[in-house]
Symmetry: C2
Subunit: 358 residues, 2 copies
Amino acid sequence: MRQAPILNVELGERSYPIIIGSGLLGAEDLGSYVKGDDCLVVSNETVAPLYLDLLQKSLAGKRVLSVELPDGEAYKTMDSVRLVIDALVDGKANRDATVLALGGGVVGDIAGFAAACYMRGISFIQVPTTLLAQVDSSVGGKTGVNHEGGKNLIGAFHQPSVVMIDTDTLMTLPDREFSAGMAEVIKHAAIADPAYFAWLETEMPRLMQRDAAPLGEAVRRSCEIKAQVVAEDEREHGRRAILNFGHTFGHAIENSMGYGEWLHGEAVAAGMVMAARLSGIPDGELTRLRNLLVAAGLPVKPPPIGAERLSAAMRMDKKVVAKEIRFVLLEKLGSAVVSAAYDRQRLAEVLAGAGDAA
Amino acid sequence: MRQAPILNVELGERSYPIIIGSGLLGAEDLGSYVKGDDCLVVSNETVAPLYLDLLQKSLAGKRVLSVELPDGEAYKTMDSVRLVIDALVDGKANRDATVLALGGGVVGDIAGFAAACYMRGISFIQVPTTLLAQVDSSVGGKTGVNHEGGKNLIGAFHQPSVVMIDTDTLMTLPDREFSAGMAEVIKHAAIADPAYFAWLETEMPRLMQRDAAPLGEAVRRSCEIKAQVVAEDEREHGRRAILNFGHTFGHAIENSMGYGEWLHGEAVAAGMVMAARLSGIPDGELTRLRNLLVAAGLPVKPPPIGAERLSAAMRMDKKVVAKEIRFVLLEKLGSAVVSAAYDRQRLAEVLAGAGDAA
């Protein structure tokens, strides 16, 4: 039954496969990855009507419970985690139970964190249905929820036992969310693979039409890059931080605007242009990055919230080590480093792009 | 400055020392174990007035914040975890911050779980002040809180970076809590060391008078046994479960009575006698176990809550694997195994010791 291409995330005893393909939901047998009898599918009000029945077919022979969360980043809270845990308790789920996340990054983060905490950790499977989740959040084991004080302040590293990506689910994704996911695809190319970046420049029109062939290839290549970086540094003590390219500025934009105004990928897109400017790469490369983001329907500058406010929001970001902000900088397109050795004057100029305080 | 005896818990890159001695609080330099500048001491309303000032002396040169929780198992909830996380956010604690637990098992479980979740895991130091916490809960990395559906249903494995045990803190412990801690000391001997069991039989009168010399020795030997079992099986896939001797019955007693009626150690004491009876060890050994528990001021039979209710409570216990209850059984005093191969008729007799339903 396993015909879909499989990538492996190499993490010793926590290694796991990523199955990528078209038409997997309902056809691929996920039950063989579930060790006990009990499954809890965590989904949301938008995704469940579209794909819950199909996923249940992939779990034939198991006892499948489900819980539906409200849709949106605003619900990425401890209260939602509690709903999932309550469903596990009500279902008398034991240590052999498996939590499946069916949905985007928010569902995956909540479900994964609940699985990490229930009985100090039970199995977890990711079935991401958004581009953002497929190329980014479902791979790597980061789970967690937001706190009034900042994004993802409460969470755990909890690796899934398998990730199943059915690229057909991207056909129902709203345009704006599709573009937001493409920001992370572009990020992977920008930090790790100049040839992939050039390929994206050529293929972006077909990708934006959701042409299945290049789309499957982009998901596969992005997962491969992410899996490799994660395998080198599972708990983000060092190199894994390059995946945060554009995120220090991006989180600050999200924080300042209030969650939900800008999508994560949109904030990261503008953040990547800011980080690239701070890096001091040649104008030609900066233009290529900007053009590729525009071709993907993404913003390339921050909203006019004022340099002061943006700067303050950055300081509460959790990438602050020893009170000093470190940035992911590009050495050139396709190669990134984490550094606190940036030009302070240039940072002020980049922040000034957010305008004066209103 | 390090004169106190040090035990090591061998867990590869998660290995850590346990420092045991008299007069350590305020004298031993704990700051050298804290990598960043920021510490958050989590304590409760009972322990803070007694020992917070002394602990702060051991952290000279660090920025020390503190949070005080209400005292008692009833507060071992997600709400208390949230108080700790809020304190970290308010104090702008970053990834280099350290959470210190100053208190008993409840404080350690809450503080440890908060440290496990904050920014997906920050450093954690245990400074246990009850006998139960010193010999049991502070060693081994289990953290977590209760859910309406059961004890410790929400939690994480999160190893401390150091455990500092000042046995002087036992002098202020109420008698009933001291006895409850002694239940775990007796448990360690019963499951792992017949010579230690015989030594406890001889020394119990002096231990109950809180004579510093034998008390220090008992704490050291119990930590050693626990550390060794944990080192063999950190995440309780197998052998570590022997530490649950008496706990399947004990948790059921706690659950049936409502948390707080019986102390954990009291329930475990009665649970150990029940488990020993189920094991079918010779009457002479059963009597020795019972006598030692009585000498420690502990109950040796369950409250009259009825066999049915106790049986139902056991089934929700998280040690239920594949719908079948496994017990920790004694092969003889000083040696335990985990098994589902027990005599069903004898289990019914043991449960009948809880009387008929009221």
